[in-house]
């Protein structure tokens, strides 16, 4: 599964991020290994999303670098991207496609081959049974979020999960379901990094936490 032998690890070295004039964080170091859970906390505008986008390579850090299994992610390109799942603020759901089509497209783009039956099962697990063939246009905000998150069920062999505010718009049952999914992934030896305003109840042997503070420094 991994290209490098050993436990997969995501390592941030001296990360620095500035958006415009504002410096969000400075000299940030952490290591996230397989089997560990990392929660990014902090106030609105403290740089949680930016940190996640830097970690997956969508955003270039102002300074410092991110390593995956000891190698700079800027040099790994697709090799790194194949080993992560990023669920962002935006659900990446197309209104004109059905829930099942959306999930199928998301997995295929990420390089995961899925069967139609698996797609149905994943949606079922997220409580969307019966909505598979509805256009996403008629789904509620929470249901759309569930479609996006259903990708995680099909990504159990992808070592790194990066989730940006995964619990937003979810009801209690879906929140429990997602916490279960994350706990399973961590116990399988996967690494999960997520941002959240609230402490989630996820059983993990190693649960790390980074607090980006109350807001950007002047």
């Amino acid at each position: 599964m991994q290209t490098t032998s050993g436990i997969p690890s995501l390592e941030a070295v001296d990360l620095q991020c500035a958006r415009g004039e504002r410096r969000l964080f400075d000299a940030l170091n952490f290591t996230l290994r397989g089997g560990e859970l990392l929660r990014i906390a902090g106030a609105n505008g403290s740089g949680k999303t930016s940190l996640l986008r830097i970690a997956c390579g969508l955003l270039e850090p102002t300074g410092g670098l991110v390593r995956w299994c000891g190698e700079d992610i800027r040099r790994l390109h697709e090799e790194f991207r194949r080993q992560l799942v990023y669920i962002g603020h935006a659900d990446a759901i197309k209104d004109d496609l059905t829930a099942a089509e959306n999930l199928d497209v998301a997995c295929t783009l990420a390089g995961t081959r899925v069967q139609r039956a698996q797609v149905g099962e994943a949606l079922h697990r997220l409580g969307l049974a019966g909505s598979e063939d509805l256009p996403a246009r008629v789904l509620s905000r929470g249901q759309r979020r569930r479609v996006a998150l259903a990708r995680l069920v099909l990504s159990e062999r992808v070592p790194l999960w990066l989730l940006d505010e995964p619990f937003t718009a979810l009801d209690a049952a879906a929140t429990d379901g997602l916490q279960g999914l994350v706990a399973e992934h961590v116990s399988r030896g996967g690494a999960v990094m997520y941002t959240s305003h609230h402490e989630a109840r996820i059983a993990a042997e190693v649960a790390l936490r980074i607090d980006l503070g109350s807001g950007p420094a002047p």
Binding site: E78, D91, K94, T108, L109, G111
Partner: protein
């Protein structure tokens, strides 16, 4: 990888089919603009025959311009573009697949309908082939060059107007070759030279434009 590329093409075609009004708008725009020329100039067959290739080509340019923002805009708005950037396939190839799908729904219909429109100009029937072939070679170039501009202006306020300013000058060589091929054929000196040049431009644009657009996408997503 081929699975991912096929998936992108099928998805974009499916989206276009489910939102066919977008496709029809571009086609109708093309038909109307081309039809304005005979109406405005009046029934002078010799003059109409002379301007036919130029008029059709300019209209094709404007119509493909109109369709350009759609290549990436909706994917950008709903976050799908982030997932495409993080995809397992090299981004340049995914962009090439998207441009191809875009051409199928916005460029190919123009090519297919142009012989019919040329009749309004009393354009010689034996030259319709050259005109259609020049459009078939030229419109993909327009989509490829346009993709770079669309990627650069993604998410900008007033991006549409900026996109025209950015891309239209780059369309000029295609316009000259495209319209020139049919004009040369009409003058009896054959349009092969222009068609070969268009073909060369297409190969060149096909090889490089997707990668340039990929870089532009990464920059506009930061």
């Amino acid at each position: 990888m081929t699975a991912a590329l096929r998936c992108v093409i099928v998805r974009d075609l499916l989206l276009a089919a489910r939102r066919s009004s977008d496709v029809l708008t571009v086609l109708l725009f093309f038909v109307i603009v081309v039809s304005l020329f005979p109406l405005g100039i009046g029934p002078e067959p010799a003059l109409l025959r002379t301007i036919a290739p130029g008029a059709i080509w300019v209209a094709a340019l404007l119509a493909s311009m109109l369709a350009l923002p759609r290549i990436f805009a909706s994917d950008h708005a709903d976050g799908t573009l982030e997932q495409i950037l993080l995809g397992a396939t090299p981004l340049g190839m995914t962009v090439a697949a998207k441009v191809f799908a875009h051409w199928l729904v916005s460029g190919l219909p123009l090519v297919l309908i142009s012989p019919v429109l040329a009749l309004q100009f009393d354009f010689p029937q034996e030259l319709l082939g050259v005109l259609t072939l020049s459009l078939a070679l030229g419109t993909p170039i327009l989509s490829l060059i346009g993709a770079i501009g669309a990627a650069l202006t993604l998410g900008l306020r007033g991006g549409g107007a900026l996109l025209s300013l950015l891309v239209l000058p780059l369309y000029v060589p295609v316009l000259i070759m495209g319209a020139g091929s049919a004009e040369a054929a009409a003058a009896g000196i054959g349009g092969q030279a222009q068609l070969f040049l268009l073909g060369a431009l297409l190969v060149f644009a096909g090889a490089f434009a997707p990668w340039a657009a990929a870089v532009a996408l990464r920059i506009s997503m930061e």
